[in-house]
Amino acid sequence: MRYLDFKKFSIYYDPYLIISITLLSIIGLFFLYSASDGNTSVLIKQSIFVFFGLILMIILSQPDPQIYYSYSGFFLLISVILVFVAIFFGPEVNGANRWISFGFITLQPSELCKIFLPIFIASYLYGVKLPINLRNTFLTISLILIVFLIVSSQPDLGTAIVILLSGLYVLFLAGLSWTFIGSALAIFVISLPFLWNNFLEPFQRQRIATLFNPDLDPFGSAWNITQSKIAIGSGGIFGKGFGEGTQSHLNFLPETETDFIFAVIAEEFGLVGLTILIGLYFFIFIRCFYLSINARDRFCRLVIGGLSLVFISTLFINIGMVIGLLPVVGMPLPLISQGGSSLISFYIAFGIIISMASHKKLVPR
């Protein structure tokens, strides 16, 4: 069942995704309530985002994918312009210009890039013959790098990395030649020292260094990871219970509502709680996998595949950081962390995914 037919008016939807995403969002509110120390204003604000986000997701499921195909360039252009607006006119917070303020809410336009860049690339590569020739490869990669550099200049390395990945996923799925991948990897490995010395900020190098040797900086960036590991580890099998996490409520954990909310969940609900949470995410991945395999055309395939991988990557980078396997980089736990921009961007992504999954191509008679 792909759509409900109310005589002439139909609603397109995917029951599995809608139910699992709604469930995850509601559980997320529950976690956030504890992670914010029972701060109801945080909860109410997030609830409003979730409510309108879910409605937005349903709305965005309705147009035919053709619309997204036709306007993908326009959407990307708007997103990039908004990023520039943030850079030049947005408020500076902690030395970064990532936000545009609308009075009662502030939004982060770079979040939109990670949705509309892969869609635009998918539309661009829609008709390209296999294997993708060098010209198209370079054009695509140049576009990806331009958007990447713009966002990382905000600076916002976390989002920039996801944007980079989102573009590369689509390029890879569309059929990037293996020889190119091989040579690019080789060049990347060779130029690693150069990138390390010239591209990374000192604090970023520090974060990577402490990942391998936490003793280097026990009170600096390693402090966060150490406290996060203690929070997760002390959760045990069943956790300390809702609102009982000492690490999170006594402020040992940093950023409990945002980047480190996974550690709060781990501390309060233990391995059992995490397994259920990860199970829900896993269900969404599998559904997205199924939908992309069965998508109606190449464009839809690439978009569903690309966007679902953006979702997966965000999740993995966040968890990997919190459990101490990846360097610290600002990255939310998708659909759960506080913050409207990330939340809304994923609802938009899933709205588009559902649209592409539920609209069947009219077979020409």
Binding site: Q227, I232, T246, L250, F252, A266, G270, I293, L309, G324
Partner: protein
Amino acid sequence: MTEINETYKEKISFNKRLIFLYVTFGILGLVFYYQIFSLQISNYSEYEIAAKNNKNEEISVQPLRGIIFDRNGEILVNNVPTFDLITKPFFIDDPDDFLFKISSFLEIDEDDKKAFLSQFEKAKILNKELTLKQSISNEDKARFLVRSHMFENAYIGERYLRNYLYPEIFSHSIGYVGRPNEDELDEIYGLRSLNTKINFTYTNQLIVGKTGLEFIYEDILRGEFGNNLREVDARGKTLDEKISSEPKVGNNLYTSLDLKSHQAAQKAFNNRKGAVVAIDINDGSIVTLFSSPTFSTNQLANGILQKEFDELLLSEEKPFFNRALRGRYPPASSIKPAIAMYGIEEGLIDWNFSIFDEGFFTLPEDGRIYRDWKEGGHGNTNLFKAITQSSNTYFFDLAYRSDINQLKKHLSSLGFGDKACIDCFEEDQVFVPEPSWKMNKHNFGWFKGDTVNMGVGQGYLVSTPIQLAKYAYIIANKGKFFDLSLKKDLVKNEKSIEFNKFSNDDWFKLHESMVNVIEGNTGTARRLREKKNYIVAAKTGTAELVSGDNREQYSETRLDDSLRDHALIIAFGPMPNPRYAVSVVVENGESGGSVAGPVAISVLNSLIQE
């Protein structure tokens, strides 16, 4: 067809690549899950402890020191509660601004402000509390309390002060407490780090005995630190504090000191320089140990201005100097009973042996003259008369015939040149001179004349008031004695001096002669007779500081206070069964009988007439 083929090829390629990525993430997911598993299951206990250590801080709780009593159960030293204004620098962002706000309604000394600012940074880093103002008045307390909502970083805490109820009279026996130095910290905390967090019970934070009994019995008095478990958040804010073990209050110290005798001593001394030591003959315990002038131990323990301290330290009166334990005085004539004992024991004299005292002794070797204090001498003089009237000539003659090494041995057996007390603070044992000492010290051989001078307790012979008291005690108790002590009921072994010739009869006669010093009509201290209603045995002494060759010279030296002779007396009573022995030295007091004597009698009166 090609388009369909192309589409099919593309779809297969896409599927393969999507599967490739999903499998990659799947493997990565397994690695992540394994990491979570190892954190939460394999290393659970380790992280559980880490989480507990994070939020729990061990706090040492300072115990109260034990109370110090006199021998009748009177409290001499205790702890009194006081209120302090205590700050938490950890929660103070701008110390100057904080002081400004507090000063708007509380008067804070500039010194306190300076001390606060100088310690602020360190206390802030270590999250330690800092006392801003000590012993605040009830008025100030009320002023603060109504504004306390404005000061989450300060509070009024109940603390204690070490309180010396008689701050001046026990300064040299009980001593005082003060801040520990690093070695003492080490000793108190053992392996604990200097950053150990402590809940202070005392206003002065850590205190440790610095002198006197407070120092000697530190281990008994200190008590044991308790432990609190404090739950804190990452900012160091205390959320909850539970007691895991109560501090153990230090044990009380029961001393043999007698309050009334000290009060009598202070009154009798009237700020003159000197010392008095009195001993309970029953067990050798010290009942009086007083050095004058004195100082306030409360000031020393609970805060004294540097200026005032320097004044005390540099004062010519030397109030910090413990004359009772460290003052070196020639025993002068008070040594005569000891020399007499030696003469009898060695067979050089007996009670019948007499000489004709014409007022001086001539050293046969070089004709040098040694003068008696009485011009013209005492005439025909036996031992009894020599003691009662304190004939120098008799003892010059006796000493002349003595062997210095044997004499030294004898004086040593009476406690000279050795520590008298087992729990006194920094007692000076001084020495008994002998030929080898003189050679080392002055690079001169021993002259016969040196021995002659020792016969009247002058020359190189010096002793401390406590040694004189012990010597009086040994005579009073007929050669049997315990080591002196200040702690009550200390287990000690009785000691005794072995004599061959010196008999019980000799003891009796010696006591009788010393009784006559006061009770006899010709005794050197006969003026003391009316000051008491029991019988006292004594021997006076006048220690010459400058030896004048003639009377004129002597009169000149008398004009300078500090060169005047020291007045001494040793005494015991009531006779015939003495209970207390006492020694008194009054610096520059001139006359043993009329100056030191009344002090000794005052102390004995307070001890005997209860």
